[in-house]
Symmetry: C2
């Protein structure tokens, strides 16, 4: 019987291995075999410049058209194995170039069809609608794929930092019997419904209930997972399915600890990006924000400041309108040089039923949002941990505690003082990369009109 | 304006800090402050044994009932801050004990209700149904919560190994316009449907299409995310929502590389568990399987071997019945001492339309399952990368290639030879921990009758 034990050595090398090989042997050139996709071809008459696209970057190959080389007819989208001599070449991307001696075809695109986008170009000039419809191919563009490498880094930063802080990663259900944000005024309307073996089920709008239950088990928990909102908004900042990076922290002394945790997480993540995603940051020409000091301003003060500074009348007294968020961002940038700002103590009326009211003024809550570039990317706050207090607040809002029996089981049997936050991953990516539309930083966005690809 | 910059120092300590503090100062006792939930109380007459439950383990406290101590009336489920002198004590769990001098109450359970389960006991004797209904509290049992710490370790092993192997983490949509496993005979029936702004949408049964598209972008991709199956099976091994650990690998030379990758990933993961989850492994008395050498047997041979050895007539010629999987597991354990076995070359009839047929015998496929303890935990295989070949196979199966236009866009514009696999996280956890029912290793399971909590 055959036995599987260990991974075979592949004869092709990755770019780091090649560079290391050259350096260690102190060679200016060496024989190598490399694989990749044909990203672009430039015909120079007697020879071709062939750029291979690989997970670890691009490699420029030079293939002479004459002589003894076996050169198949090359097209973009083919995948090939190139053998030849690699040499240091300052003018080539990554500082090395491969003089191709043999090219073996591994796979090819459909011969009768043309690439729908010039993915080999640096910038794609097509409309966002067209680009999104062609995502399976469009993401092969080097800048486009770099966006989601950065996004991977953001998720890794969140997870690795919280792991160091002794958080446990949880997996909570997305099919639920009740509406997790039931206390929110608009909660009933923006939830997806489906039939579940003769019962009605909902798609989870957030892991809120579950992370609170589990803070009673693990003290500190997090989850990175999809959430679903049936909102009819069709704006540059709304998605109907997005990735929420959620955490919940037990044994809080005050809700400010949550902001401190988020600031420290962001600092850790920016360091991780600098260290491990330098190629992508450079390709996208991203300047990372300074997150070492993030101002925090109270809701009422923020409203007053922007009203005074920019002469904008306050309309919605209990919430921040998108334009107000934008102006707060602008004010903080002008006054403090920061791209980020915490807004704290939101009015109780506009926060969900599980939010802890401010003991100093019960019209307010121990809650916050984090704005980045004038857009909310995080909502967080301290939660009610006491059973009776939570039941009373539900009743005061005209809600029925019996409908929340599973959730309240946690409070009933004791929960530590706790709070948490949720970060919209696609919005964070959007603001970090200074994109104009959250769809640009979503691999396969879902909105009111888009369910494909 | 306030500024958020760095995390405050907390006056309470974690257990590792306390032990390190004692060792470094070469002390036998020291003043500390510790927080935790009251896990159990044992009244010894003049004093109490109070066990605190914390994310990092349990801590035994001794509280005298008399003297100058401020001792509130203690109940299970309270959370407290205990100050006192910690000392080395071999008989205590973790080797240290805290002589409580002050106990401050942080939160408390509802005074009028009793714990629905004796969570302080080592084993819970309640039925699985009852335990699942009480999950928000039941998971506070030390053994139960350890199950999902191990599960966290399995996910970390998968991700960290693949990250080292230069895979990119992807995020694919769970709301989809088409049925990802459309080619499967039963694909149409077991998918959840919902209304999506006047259109029909489905919940993704797998990220299959997306990971293949993205192998054309990043060469190597993975995702750990929920998948949804509307199967009506109510068995010990089926869930209607589960976590799939998926990967797709480009530039394959042969499909056996996928099994080698999985074996190496499992070896890495078992090492990670040994190093970082020793407390949980010991609590659950888990003996990790030897995954250093995993036998691989062809489908037809496996069927023949168990039929000969155990005298079981072969009924379904194109698939393995659960009992056959069980017997293959038994055979391999008896003959080779391995808990795991790869079964390869499944018949084409029972594999989805994207599976690569075996060029040596087109009735078979370049595919495999991994069985663990006689149960399938992984399905994988090489995929068709050529556009025309894929279109022809779709047509031969009576399917309409136009319905797969988004997916086929990737093939049409060139994909490397590739393959991948998916691992059911809850089943892997179940087999590793030798549990009898996959619901036991799912935090909040979803089955035909269960949608709560």
């Amino acid at each position: 019987m055959k036995v599987v034990s260990g991974m075979r050595e592949k004869r092709d090398k990755d770019l780091a291995q090649i560079k290391k090989g050259l350096q260690e042997a102190n060679l200016t050139e060496a024989e190598v075999i490399v694989r990749g996709a044909v990203h672009s071809i430039r015909d120079m008459g007697e020879f071709l410049f062939l750029v291979l696209r690989r997970y670890d970057g691009i490699l420029q190959c030079v293939a002479e058209k004459t002589g003894e080389n076996t050169l198949p007819e090359l097209r973009e989208g083919m995948t090939v194995e190139v053998s030849g001599r690699v040499r240091q070449e300052e003018r080539a991307p990554g500082g090395i170039e491969l003089a191709a001696e043999g090219i073996r075809l591994l796979s090819q695109p459909e011969p009768d069809s043309a690439m729908p986008l010039p993915i080999g170009k640096r910038k794609l000039s097509a409309s966002l609608e067209k680009r999104l419809s062609l995502r399976p191919v469009e993401l092969r563009n080097l800048e486009e794929r770099a966006v989601f490498r950065i996004q991977e880094g953001l998720v890794r930063g969140f997870r690795e930092f919280l792991h160091q802080q002794h958080f446990t990663e949880i997996r909570t259900p997305k099919l639920v019997a009740g509406n997790a944000e039931g206390g929110n005024d608009s909660g009933g309307a923006n939830v997806f419904r489906l039939e579940y073996f003769g019962k009605r089920a909902f798609l989870a709008q957030s892991p809120q209930f579950y992370k609170q239950m589990l803070v009673g088990v693990y003290d500190r928990v997090f989850e990175v997972a999809p959430v679903f909102r049936a909102e009819k908004h069709n704006t540059i900042r709304h998605l109907n399915e997005y990735t929420s990076m959620d955490l919940e922290l037990g044994y809080l002394d005050c809700f400010e600890e949550l902001m401190e945790l988020e600031q420290a997480m962001l600092a850790f993540t920016m360091d991780l990006l600098r260290k491990e995603y330098a190629r992508e940051l450079s390709l996208l020409q991203v300047k990372l924000p300074d997150v070492s000091r993030i101002p925090a301003v109270r809701f009422e003060e923020a409203k007053r400041l922007v009203s005074e500074r920019y002469g904008r009348p306050m309309k919605a007294p209990y919430d921040l309108e998108p334009e107000e968020e934008h102006l707060i961002g602008r004010y903080i940038k002008e006054e403090y040089g920061s791209d980020l700002v915490f807004v704290t103590h939101y009015p109780s009326k506009k926060r969900p039923f599980y939010t802890m009211d401010d003991p100093e003024d019960s019209r307010l809550t121990l809650s916050f949002d984090l704005l980045f570039g004038g857009m909310e990317i995080t909502t967080g706050g301290q939660r009610i941990h006491d059973y009776r207090q939570q039941v009373e607040k539900l009743i005061a809002r005209g809600m029925n505690p019996e409908e929340f029996a599973d959730y309240l089981m946690a409070h009933q049997n004791g929960l530590p003082p706790h709070g948490g936050l949720g970060i919209g991953l696609e919005r964070l990516t959007m603001k970090l990369l200074r994109r104009e539309n959250v769809r640009e930083t979503t691999m396969f966005p879902r909105d009111v009109t888009r369910l494909r690809p």
